[in-house]
């Protein structure tokens, strides 16, 4: 019997989720322009969660696949056992349940997790199995490089925040609206931090492999940045709720900790020259191209996020599409770029280590970047206009304001279609070898 590479099985499943997220995202965006589109069938109330959950599943499953491939390479042992298979099966059960709920309008959960809480159970159990498998493989490794710490952190804090996400099931929490909202946005902030740890850990791992020096993940600066990231995961989420009348210490802690993100921004500027030289050196190595793109998007998004975390600026942007621009800019520009780098590295290594990328794939790469720039700008301009409306003394009606944003929603939709096409080209290339990459496992 042939062995299964579970890392690649998760990556292939993640790519299918990515495709699903793109289709539902474009359908949901059409509703901004054509209000009656699918209104009495799926409607925005189903399409938005279908889009968001698919995108999140792409990130979680992609991160799982990357971590499994990473520990397989580090320990030179296959992650091929019933635990990983059960974990994958539980995700499949959850995905079928979640999608069925959305298609049949059976909601009941919170924003980003709108499904009935019963489907959170297989996810939670799958995550415990993931942790067991991870720890079983790496507990003998001494002096963990930073990416292993990041994976460990992501695993632990995802589970903690995911469980915390269901505290609303207790009436005592639900009865206190402000506490409930505070916990909800604490969870959302920390969950993003947790999956960023899994994905940035993967980026460190890939850099170690590409550079061949094996020291990217062991130097003191890497650890300092890791702990700064962890510190932000734990305490910066207060910047989401400056306007919520929660306790002041929560808002001030969120503000103060968020300001430490300027250190990441300064580091990127400090390393700029080296980054440019690395880009020139590795440009034709395709996985690296995505890491390069993610670096640029980190720069743009951290710069924006650091500004938005200043409450006096945040009041102008909060509740507007600028927040959406930031969320989509980070999930597409950073998370998805790193995951695509991992997919190309792990699913198609034999092709992209030696050959220069084909014209079609070069085209898709640049189409993706340009589409993302247009999407990012469209949302930012729409958000800016809404921000001005929010602070105007004599406001026009909400629907008049939304109508005035139509040109930006149209360019947003066009950019979304561009993203769907370019991501689909990559997905097609990667999925063509899916069976082979799952069944043939090389330890390299």
């Amino acid at each position: 019997m042939r062995k299964i590479n579970f890392g690649n099985l998760f990556l292939v499943t993640a790519i299918v989720m990515l495709l699903s997220g793109l289709v539902f995202g474009v359908l949901a965006a059409i509703i901004y322009i054509a209000p009656d589109f699918l209104k009495n069938s799926l409607g925005f109330i189903s399409l938005r969660p279908l889009h968001v959950s698919s995108a999140l599943l792409w990130i979680f499953l992609g991160a799982t696949g990357s971590v499994y491939n990473g520990i397989r390479i580090v320990t030179k042992k296959e992650v091929s056992n019933p635990v990983a298979f059960t974990q994958w099966l539980l995700w499949m059960i959850a995905i079928i349940g979640i999608f069925t709920s959305y298609f049949t309008h059976q909601f009941g959960g919170r924003e980003y997790w709108e499904f009935n809480p019963v489907w959170a159970l297989p996810i939670a159990i799958a995550w415990i199995l993931f942790f067991i498998n991870f720890y079983k493989h790496i507990y003998k490794v001494r002096n963990w490089p930073v990416y292993m710490w990041m994976w460990f952190t992501g695993l632990v804090f995802f589970f903690f925040s995911f469980s915390e996400n269901y505290l609303w099931l207790f009436p005592v929490i639900r009865e206190h609206f402000v506490t409930d909202m505070t916990i909800q946005w604490k969870v959302n902030g920390s969950l993003v931090g947790a999956w960023n740890q899994l994905i940035y850990g993967t980026a460190f791992f890939l850099m170690d492999r590409i550079s061949g020096t094996k020291d990217v993940g062991k130097n003191n600066l890497a650890f300092a940045m890791y702990f700064l990231g962890l510190f932000n995961l734990m305490f910066n989420w207060g910047h989401h709720i400056y306007t919520l009348p929660t306790e002041n210490y929560i808002r001030y802690i969120g503000y103060a900790v968020s300001m430490t993100e300027w250190i990441f921004f300064a580091k990127i500027i400090y390393n700029w020259k080296k980054s440019v030289s690395d880009i020139q050196k590795h440009y034709h190595y395709f996985p690296y191209r995505f890491l390069m793109a993610s670096d640029i998007w980190v720069f743009i998004n951290i710069g924006q996020a650091s500004l938005l975390s200043i409450p006096a600026i945040n009041i102008y942007t909060h509740g507007t599409h600028i927040t959406v621009a930031h969320a989509m800019g980070t999930t597409i520009g950073i998370n998805s770029m790193i995951l695509l780098a991992a997919c190309f590295e792990f699913l198609k290594p034999e092709l992209y280590r030696t050959a220069k990328p084909s014209r079609s794939i070069n085209f898709a790469f640049w189409m993706l970047q340009i589409s993302l720039v247009i999407l990012f700008l469209s949302l930012n301009i729409a958000g800016f206009k809404k921000g001005i409306w929010q602070l105007t003394e004599e406001q026009s009606s909400y629907s008049v304001m939304m109508q005035s944003l139509q040109p930006y929603f149209i360019s947003f939709l066009i950019a979304g279609i561009g993203l769907m096409i370019s991501f689909s080209i990559f997905a097609g290339k990667l999925l063509k070898q899916a069976r082979k990459s799952i069944l043939l496992s090389h330890i390299n």
Partner: protein, 142 residues
Amino acid sequence: MKFKPRHTFLLLSSLFLLYSFSIYLHPLRVADDNRYDKELASEGRLVWQKYNCQSCHQFYGLGGYLGPDLTNFMSKPGRGEPFLKAMVNSGIKQMPAFSLTDVEIHELAEFLKATDASGSADPRSFKANNFGMIEHNEHEKN
């Protein structure tokens, strides 16, 4: 002394747990608000989730971006439970007509009373202090 990542990780995690529990215990530190029935409001929160209202609407600028913020819906002129019922049952623009029961409408209205009682979400009522933090008179309500 050699740097041990494990120690820093444990220290930060302990602080995080303390911080988390201080937030979980917040309900013990606040008095009940008699402007709404908290048990009905708690059920209303479930109605809000059951019909996925959060997909389009916001509270305090948090939520969907298609429809308006509903934090202070109940205190706007001419609004109230009958208006809510009419709006929900007929739909408008992208919002389809929902068929909520009278009990669900009542619970949802009570929940919206709770959000309204928590403070004002209008960005125009905030101003920045010397530290760049925004302050709001309504904070005294909580």
